[in-house]
Each structure stands twice: as structure tokens, then as C-alpha cells.
């Protein structure tokens, strides 16, 4: 219990901040959503032209900067990369396609459950199923291979890009798109969003908070550590929503959600499976990116590309339901995940052992 205290507090803070952000203007049950917010940033940059989902979300900037500063301060910042970059790009892309079928990343799934959205419970079932499939391949010896050390400069590029985004957000040059209608136009004040992001980024960096890791470690190692954070987010956001009168139990008319159970399930199943192969949910990928992990930066770029394509090709679902093209994309996504899972199984699954303790330092 003692070791879980940190992550439980972190989860509770994240859950409460999410409710507060909604209170101050973010879309309902979307105080924080990594997939949605990356999609909005892709829109603001004109990479996709869906007019209602374009905004440079300060939460993303804050999360990355919070995690970067914390990692730097704790001497945990280290530039590394080179572990199957193109596969990671594809996986990031596919996770985004799945998340936009469901309408939310795993973090928003928890927040939607805490708002009484029962569709998210269907999503959770799919998410767990996807994680289960991913674990099957992990146990078979799935690996994206080792990462290698890189020059420090490489690791600074992503946090620096966030500063660039912040400047674009504040300066609002004509080539940046900002939605005039919700949900893109629904947002809390910039400073509040930024500070909330900084706090979440710092806490998530310290505790390694991860939605997919929670269920994965519970199944794989009977380890309750990460899922404690997941449960704390749910509990805190639930209490917050009840206090604010924002809790509405049901399947119908839930905010920024649709009621197609099959595709909610399959969307999150795709996101869950892809995330297990990546080693973490979209939030965790952002945190790792901030710590100098270039493999995760590539994943985030893949998610951004996925979001851009999802709207340009009409793959993303809407409140009305899943899009026909989106269903095809999800099915293709499953086929690609199966290929990736199969072809990355290390033939020699035996653990390599060395007979002595001497090290080649």
C-alpha cells in the first residue's frame, strides 16, 4: 500500500483536474484526452480540416513540459531511440484510428466512465480484450528490440517543439486554425490548461501512470501498482462529477460519444492491442517523449498522422456513430497489428543467460 500512495494521489489529482477543466470550458468528459487533443492540434496546424476539432491544446504542451522538467530535475532525462521506429509510427497511427472510432484515448475512457457514460464500459471491455491479445504475443516473445543511446540534442527537439506550439497558440498567426464551434472551441483558459498539464506531466513522470500498463501488469504479473492510478482517476473524477452535477448514467445522449457498442468495443480493442505492443498508452508515450525517448516521439508523430488521416479520410466517428470508412480502417488496423505481432516474435524465446556475474561495462 505504501508504495502505491504516490500513484493513487497522482491519479486522484489527474481525475480532479479533468473535472475542473471541464467546469472551466473543456468539452464534457474531456478534461483530458490525449488522442482528442493531439487530433485538435493536428487540426490547428491544418493537417486535417475538420472545422470543429481544431485547437492547440495547452494541456499537451503542459504535460510534455511538466514531464520534461521533472525528468531533467531527477536526472532521468536520457536521449535514446532506434527500437523499430517505423513499426512504432504505424502502431501510433493505428492506436489513434481505434481511439477515434471510440472517441477517446484510454484516459478519456476512464473519464467517460466517471461521467456515467456506459458506452465507455463497453470500450473498457474491448480495451481489456485488446490488452489480452497483446499479452499473448508478449508471452510468445514479441519485442520491438533494443533502444540505443543518442546525442542529448535529439531528446531536446520534442520539448522545444512544444515551446513552438505555445508561441503559435499565443500569437495566433493566420495560418493556424481555431474552431469556432464545439468541441474544438470548447476549452478552459490557456493558463489553467497549461498549469493543469504541467501538474499532470510531472505526476505521470514520477509515477509512470499508464492506463494500458495497469491492466497489462495486473494480468501479467498480478501487480496492482499501475492500475491503482487508473482506479484513483476514476474515483476522483466520479466524485468530482457527482459534486458538480455532471454525472449522467446511461448509454444515450452522452457528450462527444456514440452508442454503437460493437464499434466502441472494436475501437478500444484496437487501441489496447496497439498500446500493449508499444509498451504504453498515449499518455505514457507523451511522458516518455518528454524524457528523451525518441521511439515514443515517433509514436506521437504516428498518432498525429493517424489523427490527420482519420479526419481527412472520414475515418473518425462522431456523436452520430461510426463512419463507414472508419470501420474499414479499424479492420485493416487489426490485420496490420496481427502482422506486426507475428513478425516481431523473437524466434529464440529462451532467456539468454550468462554463466558468471562479470560485466562488460
Amino acid at each position: 500500500m505504501k508504495e502505491k500512495k504516490g500513484i493513487i494521489i497522482a491519479g486522484a489529482v489527474v481525475g480532479l483536474l479533468a473535472v475542473i477543466l471541464v467546469k472551466f470550458g473543456n468539452p464534457a468528459n474531456m478534461g483530458m484526452c490525449i488522442a482528442c487533443f493531439i487530433r485538435d492540434i493536428a487540426g490547428a496546424l491544418g493537417l486535417q480540416r475538420a472545422e470543429v476539432v481544431q485547437y492547440i491544446r495547452p494541456e499537451i504542451i503542459g504535460i510534455v513540459m511538466g514531464a520534461f522538467l521533472t525528468a531533467f530535475g531527477m536526472k532521468e532525462f536520457s536521449s535514446k531511440g532506434g527500437s523499430s521506429p517505423l513499426v512504432r509510427f504505424m502502431l501510433g497511427f493505428i492506436v489513434m484510428v481505434g481511439a477515434l472510432m471510440f472517441l477517446g484515448c484510454p484516459l478519456r475512457m476512464v473519464l467517460r466512465m466517471a461521467g456515467g457514460d456506459l458506452n465507455a464500459l463497453v470500450g473498457l471491455a474491448g480495451f481489456a480484450a485488446g490488452i489480452g491479445i497483446g499479452i499473448f504475443f508478449l508471452n510468445k516473445g514479441f519485442t520491438l528490440k533494443k533502444t540505443y543511446s543518442l546525442v542529448k540534442f535529439e531528446g531536446y527537439i520534442f520539448p522545444a517543439a512544444m515551446i513552438g506550439l505555445l508561441i503559435l497558440l499565443l500569437a495566433k498567426p493566420a495560418f493556424i486554425f481555431f474552431s469556432e464551434k464545439a468541441p474544438g472551441a470548447a476549452h478552459a483558459p490557456i493558463l489553467l490548461s497549461l498549469i493543469a498539464g504541467l501538474i499532470v506531466g510531472a505526476l505521470a513522470q514520477r509515477t509512470r501512470l499508464c492506463m494500458v500498463g495497469g491492466i497489462r501488469d495486473l494480468i501479467l504479473f498480478k501487480d496492482w501498482y499501475l492500475i491503482s492510478g487508473f482506479l484513483a482517476i476514476f474515483a476522483a473524477a466520479l466524485i468530482g462529477n457527482l459534486v458538480m452535477g455532471k454525472f449522467t448514467l446511461g448509454f444515450a445522449n452522452q457528450p462527444v460519444a456514440h452508442g454503437d457498442g460493437l464499434w466502441n468495443f472494436l475501437g478500444m480493442m484496437l487501441a489496447g492491442w496497439g498500446s500493449v505492443l508499444l509498451g504504453g498508452c498515449p499518455l505514457r508515450q507523451l511522458i516518455l517523449s518528454a524524457e528523451g525517448n525518441i521511439d515514443s516521439v515517433i509514436t506521437v508523430i504516428g498518432m498525429t498522422a493517424g489523427a490527420a488521416f482519420a479526419h481527412n479520410f472520414s475515418l473518425a466517428a462522431s456523436g452520430k456513430g461510426p463512419a463507414p470508412n472508419g470501420k474499414i480502417a479499424v479492420i485493416i488496423g487489426f490485420a496490420v497489428l496481427l502482422l506486426v505481432s507475428y513478425f516481431n516474435i523473437e524466434k529464440q524465446t529462451e532467456v539468454k543467460m550468462k554463466g558468471d556475474v562479470e560485466l562488460e561495462a
Binding site: N139, T143, T147, K352, L359
Partner: protein, 70 residues
Amino acid sequence: MKLNQIDARGLSCPQPVLLAKKGVEKNPEGIQVLVDNTTARDNVSRFANNSGYKVEVINQGGDFLLTLQK
């Protein structure tokens, strides 16, 4: 006593923990795991504690050598 050693440097979680798990299944008396980041260090240590092993961590210039013993 010399323990078997697993080199899990460069691998991202949960792979170091999976390797440790397979390692102690083969060598219940104990193993050593070499990792190169604090997340893997913490995760392998937590797995070891949960599985009834004592863990000793030695910092080796950025890498961590974890010795798991009953």
C-alpha cells in the same frame, strides 16, 4: 554462488520484467538482471518483492545491476 545474469538493457517495459519472470522460473534460487533505466529498475524490483525475492541494486554508471535472491 554465481547467479545467472540477464541483460535487459535497452528493452522497454514490460520486457525486462518478463525476462526476470522467466529467469526466476528457471533459476528459483535467484538471478541478476541488468537494466539501463529507472522505470525498468523499479518495475523489476517491484516484481521481485511481489514474488518473494530480496533485491539488491548496484548503480553502475547509468546501468543498474539488480540481484534477486530468496
